[in-house]
Amino acid sequence: MVQYSETRLDASFAALSDATRRGVLEQLTRADASITELAEKFHMTLTGMKKHVGVLERAALVTTEKAGRVRTCRIAMRGLEEEAAWIERHRQLWSARFEELDKIVEQLKFKEKANARRKRK
């Protein structure tokens, strides 16, 4: 099991070590694309792009599906990545909100202490 996930991690990092493949991944996070479209976009031969997509596919970063003569590529980890970004966006909103609440809480605490002091006098 450990062996398997390490092998897979190695494959991911190896796949990500190439600028074109990172570009392809980035492209696929925006929209699914066929091998032909990707080849055009990256000014590459079909064979060259097929090889890159193959590496990404073996690293489980991309999945492909053939319908007729068109092989469509899509990002395999999109759900996870989107999830992480989504959580972070909302965490930042709440974080900002709660920093404001902190200020008010401090003021109320201060007021309460001042009132308690006044009562003791």
Partner: protein, 165 residues
């Protein structure tokens, strides 16, 4: 960075956000104050409105009514310079237990969430748990997409704030 924030009383209090399920959002945060103080800031309109919409969001409050008791209603009306129309948020408090718990509905549409906030005091600090339950996954996605929209500017300001510390 962390040592730069040592003057902040909330330095150690991290906000955590979790998608508990497809229809649930949970936000937790600890505050350095007893529960009655945090509850007060949450249940008095004049205090609530000072923090619920962070200053950097650029929204101004037109009106704010909060009748914080079971069966009571709330209604906030906001304006944003980028929109002609004012935005109203309204609903009903379902359950109010002072210093412990507030439950309210959101009634702008039939897809509104039921929100439960609990206040748990421990050793002078209060853990706040904010829990939203939406009727469907689509309702959650839609509501929360809206709330995070227009935030980049706010994030930038927050980044500045944090970087300056």
């Amino acid at each position: 960075m962390p040592e730069g924030k040592e003057n902040s009383p909330a330095a150690m209090n991290r906000t955590a956000v979790e998608r508990k399920s497809d229809r649930e959002l949970v936000v937790t945060r600890t505050f350095n104050a007893p529960a009655h103080i945090v509850f007060e800031a949450w249940s008095k309109p004049e205090l609530f409105t000072r923090w619920w919409v962070p200053k950097s969001a650029g929204m101004s409050l037109v009106s704010c009514d909060m009748d914080v008791r079971a069966g009571g209603a709330y209604r906030f009306v906001f304006r944003h310079p980028a929109f002609d129309q004012a935005m109203a948020f309204f609903g009903t408090y379902k359950e109010v237990i002072p210093n412990k718990r507030i439950v309210w509905t959101n009634e702008e549409s039939d897809q509104g969430a039921v929100t439960t906030v609990t206040f748990e005091e421990k050793a002078g600090k209060t853990l706040v748990t904010f829990h939203e339950l939406y009727p469907t996954q689509a309702a959650l996605e839609e509501a929360l997409a809206g709330s995070a929209e227009g935030l980049p500017e706010q994030f930038a300001q927050l980044d500045e704030l944090l970087a300056g510390r």
